[in-house]
Symmetry: C2
Subunit: 156 residues, 2 copies
DNA sequence: ACTTTCGGTTGTATAGTACAACGGTTCTTT
DNA sequence: AAAGAACCGTTGTACTATACAACCGAAAGT
């Protein structure tokens, strides 16, 4: 063990913990999200956030990015549109696609949801040191980044 | 900025990243789990694992632990029982409760699911150093532990 | 004994999702 | 240019996970 001090846990044990804890988190996530901002269902929230970040994207992009079926995305978007949170504009060059944009109301609601969501996390993480927060954030980024490349061939 | 060395990311930024990345993870978790072990739906898997760990627990315990409605647990258990993976034994002392135990088939299927699940994680994390794995695991434990106490008063 | 509490099931409703079939568009190939 | 393939999105259908509310039977409190 590289001569370091003894308590280096075996890789397997750590992986097992990671697996368990991520699973535990996932199980709770939806309910938790619903509590934080009941107005904007979790998935809609996520999609809307992505649409805003990307400043105009297509439904297919969303489906690919989130590993969702296009029908799912289609319905989610229908919901968001019904709520008046997104707008679809036909693309001039390609008549098949519709470019998605948040409406003003959508942007507003998204900002509110993000704020309360962030506040909830701030609260939960209030006892963490800045270093630990940075470390945790970095690990999560790394973990998720690994996932988005090696996709199960399902979406190619 | 507080005079410390420059590259300490502000807490807010880290929290925001954490929030985003955990959300991203949660969104994918179900689909991913379904791919890893299609035979045992995610929640059933989780419940079954808990039943085994606890070596006999009640439906209510599961509901409390996972923040699920008892009706949800009831139906999940019905499914598991139908599949022949759990057994309910009436408690001798209290005639209301039924103590849950995995059947042999349940234990077998659970072990298989755990194995493939763990393998998937091992694969995904294969490039991580043991130190990073340990660190990530520790952060996740800490994060989730924080959540299980301060529960939203919904379940009390 | 009467009421309350507890453990669990069942009825009903909703969100999120997938798969398959389809209708238009655009691109390729001949 | 006509035919076919690939692509974008919608709609029909079905299933899982979930919640809430109403309920039943058993146990505990008074």
């Amino acid at each position: 063990m590289t001569g370091a001090d003894a308590q280096q846990p075996p890789r397997e044990a750590s992986v097992d913990v990671i697996q368990r804890e991520l699973t535990a988190f996932a199980r709770r996530a939806r309910a938790a999200a619903a509590r934080v901002h009941p107005e904007l269902p979790l998935v809609s929230y996520t999609l809307l956030a992505h649409i805003e970040e990307q400043r105009g994207c297509r439904a297919t992009d969303l489906a690919a990015h989130y590993l969702l079926d296009k029908s799912t995305v289609s319905r989610q978007l229908a919901g968001l549109e019904k709520l008046g949170f997104v707008e679809r504009r036909p693309a001039p060059d390609d008549h098949r696609v519709q470019v998605l944009h948040p409406t003003e109301a959508g942007a507003k609601v998204l900002a509110a949801a993000q704020t309360s969501r962030l506040a909830a996390y701030q609260e939960r993480l209030k006892d963490w040191s800045a270093d630990d927060l940075a470390g945790f954030a970095a690990y999560l980024l790394r973990y998720n980044a690994a996932g988005t490349s090696g996709l199960p061939d399902q979406h190619r």
